[in-house]
């Protein structure tokens, strides 16, 4: 059952991701990206990471996509204003990305995944477990990331606030 679920989700993810890249209209790209995010959230649920799935939906599909949509609408992207890359750079980037893809697939295929001792718990991805981990082992990164957000917050105010004359 979960295999079929996984396959359906995986195929949907790939199709929507390809649609993001191949859509001519940036608005469709953004909408396909939302589909892509939902299917990835589905993968998280299958991996028993409910908390991550919800956060993913709220942050990415919710906040970030709205931001993307606004940016696309404000920028008024169309074929005329879009910068055109030369064929040479297109071919070069296709070759580079293709080679990287091949190496990536090959190295992951060649890796014999070791036996990981997964803890025999069903609630591993729940808020409670994540919270316990965050406030014990990962206390310092958790607290330090507040500096990161603070800095970003000051920065956005600094860059966006209306100047007093």
């Amino acid at each position: 059952m979960s295999l079929y679920l996984f396959l359906t989700l995986a195929i949907l993810t790939i199709i929507s991701a390809l649609a993001v890249v191949f859509s001519k209209n940036p608005m469709y790209s953004v909408l396909w990206l939302i589909v892509c995010f939902f299917t990835i959230a589905g993968h998280y649920v299958l991996l028993n990471a409910q908390f991550l799935a919800i956060v993913h939906l709220i942050v990415y599909a919710g906040a970030i996509m709205v931001l993307f949509l606004f940016v696309v609408m404000l920028l008024n992207l169309n074929a005329d204003t879009e910068p055109h890359k030369s064929n040479l750079s297109k071919i070069a980037s296709a070759i580079a990305a293709g080679l990287f893809f091949v190496v990536l697939i090959a190295s992951i295929r060649a890796t014999a995944l070791g036996e990981f001792n997964l803890p025999n718990k069903t609630n591993i991805g729940f808020v409670e477990e994540v919270g316990k981990k965050l406030f014990t082992d990962f206390l310092l990164p958790f607290e330090i990331s507040s500096v990161l957000f603070l800095s970003a917050m000051i920065g956005s105010v600094l860059l966006a606030k209306k100047e007093k004359k």
Binding site: V103, L104, A106, S107, I108, A110, T111, A112, G114, F116, T136, D137, F138, L139, L140, P141, I144, S145, V147, L148, L150, S151, A152, I154, G155, V157, L158, L159, E163, K164
Partner: protein
């Protein structure tokens, strides 16, 4: 750990100072605070108590070893010098002074994390705190399109590099099952290293090479340096470069040393390319900030030699080199900012005839330029000497010879500014001298000469 804690508090203080209307006192307070933090930092020297908050042990996250303390000390000294410059630089921008200062203190926080990380999660956070604060500072001149371009370019490229960094860490975690540096070292030592792990190491290395602006990941650096406000350029080319290098060095000396045989060919090619591209491209530049950006790329190449030698504890050499480079660059920028402001130009011809207008400034600039070029008796020479001898000891003779030849090429563009100062006719724009810039420059010059008097002491500290 305490260093990081106090620095964060100082950043918060800067942020809140605006509310309390303490703008006038802010810069002296920050300088005083950083000096106190420097003392606190140095008091931890040699003490190896594991980091903790209350009863929660943090030793798997940060490790304040002597390496971290030495580099933290250097970073704090550089920051103090930059903040002294900020007093005059932001004189006419008092509205935003507390924002600027708090973001710059947060950059220092990021750097401190990058010196002491003992966990991939901390490495990532350190780099992100540093970078995101810098994207903002690079674009902080909102009404200057070049500053906007600089911030935007840095942000897009940096975000891309962060993607590589995260992907690399994820693959390393996938193969080894741990984020901790010691755990990863054990995994490598156990012998059965998965191919996926090597891919992770490569991606991680790419991201780090981007941060140190090594060729071929250097394209952002001249544009970003040119567009950013001059003080921020000084900050980026000193503190940030030192932080990125210390993080890269720590990665190989504390964690990925076992994969050195694998990354060695890649690192050798990158080192050679960085040295030659940096030096040769700098020859044709006329903007002083761009010259310094390319010179920074070339210096990154020399410091990569130190990373290549990381398996025989080249930490002292890298520290000495980083200190010599950073101090000379801060001093140079102090005088360059003054010259830029007086001439309303950032090109080499702004320095024309400076020797007649202000002989002291011209002499100081010459000292810094010669130190960067690696000419004795200045600290830059000894730094190069130590790095090169470390590299030869590790068998990189050809690469070192190549680096020596290139550092001779480098003399040309450093001398270009000196020649402009001494043999070009002066223009009619008066040189506006401000004491804070001169004080910083004199301190840096004293340090540039002073470092050469105690090299043995500095070379022993990280053994």
């Amino acid at each position: 750990m305490t260093t990081l804690l106090y620095t964060t508090c100082l950043g918060l203080f800067c942020m809140l100072a605006e509310v309390l209307n303490l703008r006038k006192l802010l810069i002296p307070a920050v300088i005083l605070g950083l000096s106190a933090i420097f003392v606190v930092n140095m008091q931890q020297w040699g003490i190896t108590t594991p980091a903790s908050i209350g009863s929660v042990s943090l030793s798997h996250m940060v490790k304040m070893d002597n390496f971290a303390i030495a580099f933290s000390g250097l970073a704090i000294v550089i920051s103090i010098l930059i903040f002294v410059l900020a007093a005059n630089y932001y004189k006419d921008d008092q509205n935003h002074i507390s924002d600027y200062l708090s973001i710059m203190v947060f950059v220092l926080c990021g750097a401190l994390v990058m010196f002491s990380y003992n966990n991939m999660a901390m490495l990532f956070l350190g780099i992100e705190i540093l970078s995101i604060s810098l994207y903002i500072m690079a674009g902080s001149r909102r009404f200057d399109t070049r500053s906007n371009e600089s911030g935007m370019k840095y942000f897009l490229m940096g975000a891309f590099a962060s993607g590589f960094l995260l992907f690399g860490i994820a693959l390393i975690y996938g193969a080894s099952g741990t984020f901790e540096l010691e755990g990863i070292t054990k995994y490598i030592a156990a012998g059965e290293v998965a191919p996926m792990f090597y891919l992770g190491v490569t991606l991680l290395l790419f991201a780090m090479l981007f941060k140190v602006s090594a060729v071929p990941f250097h394209f952002w650096s001249p544009d970003v340096y040119e567009g950013a406000p001059a003080l921020i350029t000084a900050f980026m080319s000193t503190l940030v470069k030192v932080a990125a290098f210390a993080a890269l060095y720590r990665l190989f000396s504390h964690c990925l040393g076992g994969t050195m045989y694998y990354v060695e060919p890649l690192l050798i090619i990158v080192t050679g390319a960085t040295i030659i591209v940096g030096n040769v491209t700098a020859l044709s530049q006329i903007n002083v900030k761009r010259i310094l950006a390319y010179s920074g790329i070339a210096h990154a190449g020399y410091m990569l030699l130190g990373v290549l030698s990381s398996q025989t504890n080249a930490a002292s050499s890298v520290f000495f080199y980083a200190a010599a480079y950073a101090i000379a660059t801060v001093g140079l920028f102090a005088l360059a900012i003054m010259t830029f402001k007086s001439n309303f130009s950032e090109n080499v011809d702004a320095f024309n005839g400076l020797a007649k207008k202000n002989p002291v400034a011209a002499a100081l600039i010459s000292i810094f330029m010669l130190s960067l070029a690696g000419i004795p008796p200045f600290a830059g020479f000894l730094g190069k000497y130590y790095i090169f001898s470390e590299a030869i000891r590790n068998g990189y003779v050809t690469l070192t010879l190549f680096a020596v030849i290139n550092s001779i090429i480098a003399v040309y563009y450093y001398l270009k500014v000196i020649i402009a100062m001494y043999s070009q006719p002066a223009n009619d724009k008066p040189m506006v001298v401000h004491p804070t810039y001169m004080v910083v420059a004199i301190i840096c010059a004293a340090a540039t000469i002073g470092l050469t008097l105690v090299p043995d002491m500095l070379m022993q500290i990280l053994k």
